[in-house]
């Protein structure tokens, strides 16, 4: 088979069609990997450019395109204060001190979501930004064809940011004590996202949306299936329907063991699944066997294998995952992102396993 473009490879994989090789989907948040393939020392100043060069050289599909953050403390528009480090951020202050204050804050957040405007100007800004990333990826294409890495666009149902903002323990009490308020908030966020979808969807620019919420941990869902079925799945379905209505595939992302609710996810219209957290039991083989029509992405454990394992072990895991997928409908990649603990030699071993069937598209290390 002649070498495909990245977009062709991605779309043929999504459709379970034959490809020249297994595509790579990942997120780069690792200085060593970015510097190796980007060819320069990575700084906060050159981060977007060098990371784009590395992504463009290596990956068929990606998201979260920006480089490392400048360490800082910043108060967001909603009043929450964050500490930013190079590749992560966390909350250090919340703008309420008691339940009454929290409820008032949530009501303001609901109003903010209701008022969010996604008009033509927003869409143009969004599309211009996306075109900028795609151009940077195209410039780095190792084949010289100007073939850009496919960018997927994140589109949350709305729940993750809610429990993150409030804090896990407090959110549990909120769900028990104020279920109507939680639903009102989730609904406002969901409807805002549906408006955003209507504004930005453009399958020529990005053919796949990442619909998401982290709803599970290693052993089971974070929320009861009963709660999810009542409050969350109907809104995930609306979101998937909105993207499908605009000819965009839906790759669903949640960490953790999703098996107890995977039937519901399929009914809600997901086309693919990410990141297949193998240590939570979500191996490529198990998911493929039970849900043969879902295209799959990830499945190479980043918490232990890519961080602490050896290249031979990584190669073996990659070959096994590709074999379990029977070579179709599968993107090789880490279980979410290549974070800063991943060993460079392990990342290279993963990429080379994807490239081993296609020497033409294998990038040589940059010089200089």
């Amino acid at each position: 088979m002649p070498a495909l473009t990245k977009r062709e490879r991605v779309l043929r994989t999504v459709r379970f069609e034959e490809t020249d090789r297994t595509p790579l989907y990942d997120i780069f948040q690792n200085d060593a990997v970015i510097e190796y393939y980007g060819g320069e020392k990575l700084t906060a100043e050159n981060g977007d450019r060098v990371k784009s060069a590395a992504v463009g050289r290596v990956l068929d599909m990606t998201r979260m395109p920006t480089g490392p953050d400048t360490p800082r403390i910043e108060r967001r528009e909603d009043g929450i204060v964050f500490r930013y480090e190079r590749w992560t951020l966390w909350i250090i202050e919340r703008p309420w001190h008691d339940t009454r204050g929290l409820i008032e804050w949530i009501k303001r957040e609901i109003a903010r979501a209701e008022a969010a405007v996604y008009d033509r100007a927003y869409a143009e800004r969004f599309h211009d930004s996306l075109r900028g990333w795609l151009a940077a990826y195209a410039a780095a294409d190792p084949t010289g064809r100007g073939d850009p890495t496919v960018m997927i666009v994140e589109s949350g149902v709305g729940l993750t940011e809610m429990y993150w903002a409030v804090g896990t323990e407090t959110f549990c009490y909120l769900m028990a004590d104020y279920p109507d308020l939680v639903e009102e908030w989730l609904d406002a966020r969901n409807r805002a996202e549906l408006r955003r979808v209507a504004a930005i969807a453009d399958p020529r620019l990005f053919p796949i949306a990442l619909t998401y919420d982290d709803i599970a941990y290693k052993t089971a869902p974070l929320f009861s299936p009963k709660w999810l079925r009542r409050y969350w799945f109907p809104r995930l379905k609306k979101l998937n329907d909105a993207w499908h209505g605009r000819d965009t595939y839906c790759l669903f992302h949640s960490d953790g063991n999703l098996f107890p609710v995977l039937d519901d996810l399929v009914v809600a219209g997901i086309d693919g699944l990410n990141p297949l957290e193998v240590l939570a039991g979500m191996s490529v083989g198990k998911v493929r066997q039970k849900y043969p029509k879902l295209f799959l992405t990830g499945g190479i454990d980043v918490s232990q294998l890519l961080s602490f394992g050896a290249p031979d072990e990584v190669r073996a895991a990659c070959r096994q995952a590709i074999a379990e997928a029977d070579g179709r409908g599968y993107f090789l990649g880490s279980t979410t992102e290549l974070h800063w603990d991943v060993k460079l030699e392990n990342a290279i071993a993963m990429f080379e396993t994807a490239w081993e069937t296609d020497q033409a598209s294998r990038p040589s290390p940059p010089t200089g």
Partner: protein
């Protein structure tokens, strides 16, 4: 047959990894099952000593009475203790829990933590300690000044989420909270030991280090943040030549080698379902260096099985853990309200009848 021992002799023999006359027995429970057991034995709701005697419990504890001022205001619908921890009653299918809530120090600064009212070791009455030890003289007496319990207890005031962030990011407010609480407990313990005049037999501390699947924190974080803070507590116990028992729910055997280096020679609670916590694994790997306390699952046959299944399960655990000594029969953490009364009664009967050496 080994001669009949007192409870104290029995426990200290087991702690020394020798075979006593029978396996020592301990009892910890949630309020619902505790009340039902007292009903079963015809005891008053506050007859804690009567229940311990009915179950053949070999352990007792002493703690000084707080006589200082009230440190934190009451909050409607909450129970607020002297550390400022807020609890609310949350019911479940078979009872309820006083669950932590409000988390008043979640985003407190270092200054706010420094100013947070906490019990002063001076404001406890240690005058009854020696007499209580004397009254419990035949039993093994715990003289702990508190569990330590950095992760859990900080979590009660700052949320578990923030506490884990504190440990990873060296947040000075979170670390100060841990230090202040730990130092107060160590000081209270020192005064208990001084007041007890030799009447205390062991120190019981605790830190939940595991989930069911593995460590809650990395070894690196344990050695940087947890171990040094406990070492001061361990050093106090060792100065009094007292054995130290460490309560650790979840998968915690990953830290046992460090425990031994710290001077901790008894591991509690031993949840057999958790990773690397199977009784046979623990006995084979650490049985020549550590004694064990716990291991009777509160999420297994005692909670969900028939009486016969609960009895068979307890026998199986004793068969693994008792040989050579070094085992104290007790539930993992505490009996939960969903355990049928008859199963728990049978659990303690089988320990007394089949726990003989």
């Amino acid at each position: 047959m080994t001669k009949e021992m007192t409870s104290k002799e029995r426990v200290l023999t087991a702690f020394a990894r020798q075979e006593p006359d029978r396996v020592p027995i301990n009892y910890l429970s949630n309020p619902g099952i505790d009340r039902r057991l007292k009903d079963h034995f015809g005891l008053a709701a506050d007859d804690h000593e009567g229940l311990r005697q009915a179950l053949g419990v070999d352990f007792r504890g002493v703690y000084p009475r707080y006589v200082g001022p009230k440190l934190h205001e009451d909050v409607p619908g909450r129970h607020v203790d002297n550390w400022g921890i807020h609890r609310r009653w949350v019911e479940h299918e078979s009872g309820g829990y006083w669950d932590y809530c409000d988390f008043p120090l979640e985003h407190a600064t270092e200054e706010a933590v420094a100013a947070w009212p906490m019990p002063d070791p001076d404001n406890f009455d240690y005058s009854e300690i020696a007499e209580t030890c004397k009254r419990f003289g035949q039993f093994a007496v715990n003289g702990s000044g508190g569990f330590g319990d950095i992760i859990n207890a900080n979590g009660m005031l700052r949320t578990m989420q923030q506490t884990l962030i504190d440990l990873v990011t060296d947040d000075p407010a979170g670390l100060l909270l841990a230090d202040r609480r730990m130092n107060i407990q160590i000081e209270i313990c020192a005064r208990i030991l001084d007041a007890a005049k030799g009447g205390v037999d062991f120190i019981w501390m605790g830190e939940d280090l595991g989930t069911q699947r593995g460590p809650t924190i990395s070894m690196k974080t344990f050695r940087k943040q947890i171990r040094p803070r406990y070492q001061k507590y361990c050093d106090l116990a060792r100065a009094y030549n007292l054995p130290i028992m460490m309560h650790c729910c979840g998968s915690s055997s990953w830290a046992f080698d460090d425990f031994l280096e710290m001077g901790i020679t008894i591991a509690d609670t031993l949840q057999p379902e958790a990773k690397d916590m199977a009784p046979a694994y623990l006995k084979a790997r650490y049985g020549d260096r550590m004694a064990f306390h716990g291991c009777i699952s509160t999420a297994g046959p005692v909670a969900y099985g028939t009486v016969d299944e609960a009895v068979a399960y307890c026998k199986e655990i004793m068969d693994i853990m008792m040989p050579g000594g070094g085992y104290c029969f007790a539930p993992t953490h505490a009996l939960q309200d969903n355990s049928p009364t008859e199963n728990v009664v049978a659990m303690y009967e089988v320990a007394q009848t089949c726990g003989r050496y």
